[in-house]
């Protein structure tokens, strides 16, 4: 083939190749997702890819021929970029602030490369732009999130520490509670009284003392209801006793057999004013009961043994004095009269002693009756009429202004208390003076009082007035006979009635003794 023809053919082939290549490039230019542009050596835009146009918002024709500054929002960005580009001819991911049509700023990364011809002459630049708005936004959010996370971390760290502290506190509380529990358990275990605990109507605890009382084991009782225990022979009577009385029990006696008596008390355990269970306390009173019985028997016997010879003397003397054994001379009679009086004092002393034995414990009132205190006072005062008259003392019974409310009393014992007080008043008052017995009262109590203008009570002896066998020093001087038991007996009686006893006195001018008794609230009829 001639040379010309060859070149011609070759040129044609090359032209076709270039055109094909151009087509490729144009196609690529259309679809490549990166914004790309080609500029002149002085940065005039020559070619732009579709992505470039889309990114900056220009039509191809609109932007072609414009200086590249058009798409830069900051002059210094371009300056920095060109300074780096000249010596190196290539820059990668240079951060700039781009500018879209209308002025909107777009953060972007620019890469650029300088293109030279075969002689090394600069012919153009190719720029690529990547929009990093989203990345920046994500980065921003990320940073915020990280900061937030850090804050949370700090908070969590704080919470963790606080939790650890709480755990430590809880631990020490637990240790303290355990100690307390062990202590309580030791007390309950070694308690001489029987203790049972009921929760949700079931026995949840029975201490060794209570187990011993009923001769039962813990396993036989714990977890059972009272109704269930009624089927257990050993503890049956106790279960029935509890079942019978629904409300709280205070010191009620439960005889298990003739010689074994328990005193039962129950206390409701409350939480927020609601009953959650019961504590049952069992106190063995067998010994007390036995002693009480022995005491009654002793008093009866002692009364007999002590009084029998005294009554024999009394009767014999009396019959002699009355002339039943034949007539006697006056001086003999006087002598016998004195002996008789001595014997009477002896009888009185024995009576006092017996009263004390009976009353000392004070707890047991015999058949309390609802009555008016004033009636009892009148009865007792009347019985002293003769004695007062003999001593030329005016014994006055002062009536209360209004009707007193009734009291519930062991009449016999209250009479005895009144007797002792009135007896003292008459005994220690001068002849011709007055003793005033009075009753008064209010809604809550009835008050009995005896006022005299006798010797009074020395100041330094006030606290001992109600002691056993105590007698005021001034009283001893007047009368050597008193037993020192009268006020002691009176105090025991009054206190057994839940009353109070007291006095007011000015030495040498007299004394007023009072006792008060609570009004009977049972609304009982007189």
């Amino acid at each position: 083939m001639p040379k010309e023809k060859f070149f011609e053919k070759r040129e044609k082939e090359l032209t076709e190749d270039i055109s094909t290549l151009e087509g490729y490039i144009n196609d690529l230019w259309e679809i490549i997702p990166v914004a790309i542009c080609i500029t002149t050596p002085i940065f005039t835009l020559l070619e732009t890819s579709r992505s470039f146009n889309n990114l900056f918002g220009y039509e191809k024709d609109e932007i072609t021929g414009s200086p590249i500054e058009t798409i830069f929002s900051k002059e210094e960005d371009l300056k920095n970029l060109s300074e780096k580009l000249f010596p190196r001819k290539k820059i990668l991911n240079f951060e700039i602030s781009g500018k879209a049509k209308g002025g909107k700023e777009i953060p972007m990364l620019v890469s650029a490369i300088a293109r030279e011809d075969q002689e090394g002459e600069l012919v153009s630049y190719i720029f690529s732009f990547v929009d990093v708005t989203l990345i920046r936004r994500v980065e921003g959010t990320l940073e915020e999130k990280v900061a937030e996370l850090q804050r949370y971390t700090v908070q969590l760290e704080g919470s963790r520490r606080a939790l650890l502290n709480i755990l430590e506190d809880v631990e020490s509380e637990r240790v303290a509670a355990e100690k307390e529990r062990d202590k309580t358990a030791a007390i309950i275990k070694n308690f001489a009284d029987g203790l049972l605990l009921m929760e949700n109507n079931k026995i949840s605890l029975i201490n060794p003392a209570a187990q011993a009382f009923f001769n039962v084991s813990e396993a036989e009782v714990v977890g059972r209801t009272i109704a269930e225990l009624e089927g257990t022979a050993k503890i049956q009577s106790f279960a029935k006793f509890l079942n019978k009385t629904g409300a709280d029990i205070f010191r009620e006696e439960l005889p298990l057999n003739e010689n074994f008596i328990l005193e039962v008390s129950t206390v409701a355990t409350l939480k927020d004013a609601k009953e959650t269970g019961k504590i049952i306390i069992l106190h063995d009173v067998s010994r007390e009961k036995m002693v009480e019985k022995m005491k009654t028997e002793f008093v009866s016997l002692a009364a007999h043994q002590l009084r029998t010879p005294l009554s024999a003397i009394k009767w014999a003397l009396k019959m002699l004095l009355d002339g039943d054994m034949g007539s006697i001379k006056q001086d003999q009679k006087n002598f016998l009269e004195k002996t008789y009086q001595s014997n009477e004092r002896m009888i009185a002393l024995v009576n006092d002693l017996l009263d004390i034995t009976r009353i000392e414990e004070g707890k047991y009132l015999y058949k309390p009756t609802v009555t008016q205190l004033e009636l009892v006072a009148k009865f007792v005062a009347d019985s002293y009429k003769d004695e007062a008259k003999a001593k030329n003392i005016k014994l006055t019974l002062r009536k209360s202004d209004s009707l007193l409310r009734p009291v519930k009393i062991d009449v016999e014992k209250i009479r005895l208390a009144m007797q002792n007080i009135i007896d003292n008043a008459i005994r220690y008052s001068a002849e011709g003076s007055e003793v005033i017995v009075a009753c008064s009262g209010n809604e809550k109590e009835a008050i009995f009082s005896v006022q005299d203008s006798g010797i009074g009570i020395p100041k330094d002896q006030r606290t001992r007035m109600f002691s056993k066998f105590f007698r005021g020093s001034n009283a001893v001087r007047i009368d050597t006979e008193g037993s020192g038991l009268g006020l002691y007996i009176a105090k025991n009686i009054v206190e057994a009635h839940n009353g109070r006893i007291w006095f007011e006195s000015e030495p040498g001018k007299g004394a007023t003794f009072y006792f008060s008794l609570p009004i009977d609230s049972s609304n009982g009829k007189i």
């Binding site: 009654t296 008093v299 009866s300 016997l301 009364a303 007999h304 002590l306 009084r307 029998t308 005294l310 009554s311 024999a312 009394k314 009767w315 014999a316 009396k318 019959m319 009355d322 039943d324 009888i347 024995v350 009576n351 009976r358 015999y366 058949k367 016999e412």
Partner: protein
């Protein structure tokens, strides 16, 4: 015929004293020194009144009362207790057994005992 009084009392001196006093008043008096013989004499003599002590050997006053109460012929005989004890428990017990009166020996003298007797069965005929 004078009314018959039975005294059941273990304390000899007291028994003699009250016996003498009542006889002097004009009553016919029988005596017994313990509860057991007292009960026997109650059956034998059918007295108009019994003066009964409480604390006595062999059979105490309460036991005498309980036994007498079961016997139709003795049940109606009035009884006055003559004792040195006087606890309310005992008084209530005696009252329940139909006792007419209760005298504490140290509190009453023989003349007053006579008055109580007269109150129950009248002056001696």
């Amino acid at each position: 015929m004078a009314q018959k009084i039975l005294i059941i009392e273990d304390e000899k001196v007291l028994m003699e004293l009250i016996c003498k006093k009542l006889e002097k008043e004009g009553y016919a008096v029988e005596t017994a020194g313990d509860g057991e013989s007292g009960l026997r004499k109650m059956r034998e003599t059918k007295p108009d009144l019994v003066l009964l002590d409480i604390v006595m050997p062999k059979m105490n006053g309460f036991e005498v009362l309980e036994t007498a109460n079961q016997d139709q012929t003795l049940k109606t005989i009035p009884v006055i207790i003559l004792s040195n004890s006087g606890q309310l428990v005992e008084l209530d017990q005696a009252r329940a057994l139909g006792v007419r009166d209760w005298l504490i020996k140290t509190e009453f003298d023989p003349q007053e005992v006579v008055e109580k007797v007269v109150k129950q069965i009248g002056a001696p005929k």
